[in-house]
């Protein structure tokens, strides 16, 4: 109901006041960022408040957030809101729930949505907008997104031509984990093209090792790591445009491009000389959980493991994740050294209320101030926000992710299975990929997925 409240005149005034505030705010935060090196705690608290006070007196107001981000990633999130809370007097109530993706739809439909939801999939975002409970992003947020993100990111937060949700965090999926120590000892070079990756794998085989380890078991979502593999190869072998068409089903799921991509994956995952280091034969891929699949690297039983940046958290405490540490990652190379397709994911900030404090908080989250504050507090987190200074990231793997995302040649593409209809992206794609690992041929697999696409 209160979506309609507030006259348009006061909104125009608000927007005007805000844009002035924004200019001040940004210039001010540029200053404050320069002298942060010495004392991060104090600088995190000292942000310029004018962009947010422009929304009016917000003291004593509450903003509720509902998200699928739970422990331990939730702590840096909550801490990164403190500067905003301190300067505006708003209380931010954070609720993390692993069942977010189903529960948010229930809550939205029942009329009990949070003020703000962090939506991890563009497909889910569209469904939420369809419930009619979501509200468009305020112009201040749109301005921030135009400034700090590329058009590819803004498009993912847009539904039916209306801009709803600003990007929040991001993760890079096109990574291969390896042991820097092993590479140094055996003289392996980090590959820069797909052919070099193949050559490296063969070299490891020649040295008597099993180069790759993989695992796709993940409860009811078993199979998803294969979909990431296939999407990465689709991007590399057929290009971003073909990838977009494939995701939107403008070209068939079982066409020549997709066949080439899945066969490309098969050259690694279904090659019994390449897999499954430290874990068993090819079929053991299906029974190994994705969380455990990269751990043999630490024991020297496996050399390469393709998994997203968030996999860093999977290594046991005490593992040094760095270029000179126990384990690190390199960018899964493109077809040649110049093309840099990046497969990834991220969350989007969708609001269900347009109260001033909610809009102010959305504006804060879409700013470079927040991105840099968050970067200093967390490990295993990165944003595609161009205002993010990679030097603020505490973790080497995050710095690698940020450099990949901010590479001018990078072509970012969202995880395709997250954007396909649920019947495919969260069902047949996973199941058929699992069947493919345990012996089904490529053609049957792709034909079955094509058949399951909703008409």
């Amino acid at each position: 109901m209160f979506v309609q409240r507030g006259s348009s005149r006061s909104r125009v005034a608000l927007a005007g006041a805000l844009s002035v505030g924004l200019v001040f705010g940004l210039s001010a935060c540029g200053d404050s960022d320069d002298d942060t090196g010495a004392d991060t705690g104090a600088s995190a608290a000292a942000i310029d408040c004018s962009p947010y006070t422009a929304f009016g007196d917000l003291k004593g107001k509450t903003v509720t957030i509902y998200t699928g981000i739970v422990t331990p990633e939730d702590t840096p999130h909550k801490e990164s809101y403190v500067p905003f809370e301190k300067c505006t007097g708003v209380t931010v109530k954070y609720e993390g729930d692993k069942a977010f993706e189903t529960q948010i739809l229930v809550r939205a439909e029942a009329g009990n949505p949070p003020d703000i939801a962090y939506v991890p999939q563009p497909g889910l975002l569209q469904n939420l907008v369809k419930t009619g409970k979501a509200v468009e992003a305020p112009p201040e947020v749109a301005a921030n997104v135009d400034k700090f993100w590329g058009p590819d990111w803004k498009a993912y937060g847009t539904v039916d031509g209306k801009f709803y949700a600003a990007p929040l965090g991001a993760n890079v999926k096109s990574l291969v984990w390896y042991s820097p120590k092993e590479f140094a000892d055996k003289g392996y070079q980090i590959p820069t093209t797909l052919d070099e990756l193949k050559a490296l794998s063969d070299k490891i085989v020649a040295d008597g090792g099993k180069p790759w380890c993989a695992g796709i078991a993940s409860g009811e979502a078993t199979g998803w790591p294969v979909t990431d593999w296939m999407e990465d190869f689709m991007l590399r072998l057929s290009g971003a445009e073909a990838y977009d068409k494939w995701v939107k089903h403008e070209i068939p799921f079982n066409g020549p491009e997709a066949t080439q991509a899945l066969d490309g994956v098969g050259a690694y995952l279904k090659n019994d000389q390449y897999v499954n280091g430290g874990l068993g034969d090819i079929k053991s891929i299906a029974s190994t959980t994705f969380q455990d699949a990269g751990l043999p690297i630490l024991e020297g039983q496996c050399s390469l493991h393709r998994q997203a940046s968030f996999y860093a958290a999977n290594f046991p405490a005490g593992t040094k994740v760095a270029k000179d540490g126990d384990v690190y990652a390199f960018y899964l190379p493109g077809k040649d050294a110049t093309s840099k397709p990046v497969l990834g994911g991220g969350e989007f900030v969708l609001a269900f209320s347009d109260r001033p404090e909610v809009k102010a908080f959305q504006t804060y989250l879409s700013s470079d101030v927040w991105a840099n504050t968050k970067a200093k507090l967390s490990s295993g987190w990165v944003s595609a926000n161009k205002g993010l200074d990679p030097a603020n990231l505490t973790n080497p793997i995050d710095q690698l992710s940020a450099s990949i995302l901010q590479d001018p040649n990078a072509q970012f593409r969202f995880d395709g299975s997250d954007m396909m209809p649920g019947a495919v992206g969260a069902n047949s794609f996973w199941k058929q990929a699992t069947a493919w690992i345990i012996g089904q041929d490529t053609k049957t697999t792709l034909d079955n997925i094509e058949k399951s696409w909703p008409k």
Binding site: I69, V70, E73, G96, Q291
Partner: protein
Amino acid sequence: MTTAAPLTTTPVSKSETKKLSAAASAKNKLTSPWASLAAVVLAVLWTIPTFGLLISSFRPEMAIKRTGWWTFFSDPEVTLDNYRAVFDDGGINLADFFLNSLVITIPSVVIPLCLASLAAYAFAWMNFPGKNILFIAIFALQIVPLQVTLVPLLQLYVKAGLNNTFWTLWLSHSTFALPLAIYLLHNFIKEVPSSLIEAARIDGAGHVSIFFKVLLPLLTPALAAFGIFQFLWVWNDLLVSLTFAGSPEISPMTVQLSNLSGTRGTAWHLLSAGAFVSIVVPVTVFLLLQRYFVRGLLAGSVKG
């Protein structure tokens, strides 16, 4: 109903002796060495997974993730890190949600018990128009899966302004429990000899005093049995609280337990420790009340 019963307590004592002898004969039949062996084998098989979980909860992270719990015997490594982590203030501190679970569970057991015992009495010993149809309706309601009611119920709560309060959970658990509770207690109350009720009535007792003075003492085992059922169900419930508890302030331990493994399930080694923290209360309740539980189940089946 119309024949007057003698005003003595003999029927009661007679039925008690009968019950005893029935129990005694059952005891005789069951105490054979083979039956004992079968029971021991079953108990061991049944306990192994829980035992493995207990061992796992004391093993270090890397050992849990890379090897099975049985390797503990060849390579015993014991740590309390997992328990420390589930009581960690930085992450999820299960102790905070312990109280929520109690606050949710106790009213969710008491409310249906009170209502159901009254309703069961009315259905068993009172005559009013539409009684049979109502009873069939309640009986039929057991068939409705609670999943289909989630969204409509939440919509009702939002309309009534009850969302994000404990009321949503108390009311939901009570309504979901009532059909079965009424049905079970009705069958139990119906089995009380009618002579007993009539005797009380002749002594001048109304419905209220019959219920409180005559039936309630007899009902205790059945109430305890259903109470345990309901307690375990509510304590272990995840779906209802996930849907209706709209904020961490009122969410029970199960919801936090499901979040314990972390956003991408990377901390699943904590689940065994978390599971043991959460089963402390149900196991205690069960052990303390199990004699009622067995008696309550028997009382319904062995006719006096």
